[in-house]
Subunit: 154 residues, 2 copies
Amino acid sequence: MATQEQNTLLVAANKLKSNKIKNTPQRQVILSYLMTSHAHPSIEMIFKYVRKNGFSVSLATVYNTLQLFVDHNLIIEIAADSGGHMRYDYFEVPHYHVICVNCNKIVDVFDDSYKKNEKIAIAKTGYQVLNSQYEVYGVCPECQAKLKNKAVKI
Amino acid sequence: MATQEQNTLLVAANKLKSNKIKNTPQRQVILSYLMTSHAHPSIEMIFKYVRKNGFSVSLATVYNTLQLFVDHNLIIEIAADSGGHMRYDYFEVPHYHVICVNCNKIVDVFDDSYKKNEKIAIAKTGYQVLNSQYEVYGVCPECQAKLKNKAVKI
DNA sequence: TCGTTGTTGAGAATTATTATCATTTATAAC
DNA sequence: GTTATAAATGATAATAATTCTCAACAACGA
């Protein structure tokens, strides 16, 4: 019987095939990781994950692979921390991100009403729209509590 | 009589004062540039602009100043090209960006209906929301024409 | 199975960003 | 005004992130 990991890899492999992307071990692992993880991982996290799971990979390949997936609209880039470090996320079901400016935690909100604005954008600009992205910045409940305590202690 | 440039610098100076930010020539020029330009400039463009206009500035100061303005919510960062190069934009009137994936041209759309989603985000996540950003990716009319021609020529 | 075409990876090269700290400057109190 | 002081600037060093290069290798259709 196939393990859960093997199933996920199979799903990823099919996704690659249907997008006419050559099916390499590195691509399978990276895509399956992005499909199942809720961590919205960075380049570094993806690199470490692949190696930890017994696959050989170089940083260059991680960069190339993520760029390839972005170009195929399989995943999106998120500018999470203001330093400009990119994070990545599988993007089959439309959703947006709520990002804590204090700890960088990213939460998904599965509500596609933000997509309605695409029509307005098309009407106003004449662009041929491919996709759109919405991000909310704020302070997560945990950090709200932490920062409150800090203020009291002065 | 004051020139238009001098007026803009004055407006920028007042903006700094009302935000309790120390009023240096570099900050005035950078802020006034962001307030009047529609170029959504990158770090490099800002650096060159300031020097071209006769002010001394170092790259470190450009980085510091932009970070300061972002922290004060005077400007926002936009992840325009997928390489992760940040662009900057003055952000008094809520608007969003439509970005050409081919030539990176950025167009403003002044329609704040996308902001309505902030309420949903608060309800669903418990985050204390500070602001939100919407970005649309597509192909601009010029590039649509160009790419069409290219396809015919093969 | 073979051949072609595309992918990988190690490290070099490049580029972007941050840190350091002596010098200069803005501002507020007098 | 002058002065004190806290903060900003800028040249350069240090570090980190990203891209490039190209030989070796692997996927996949014929």
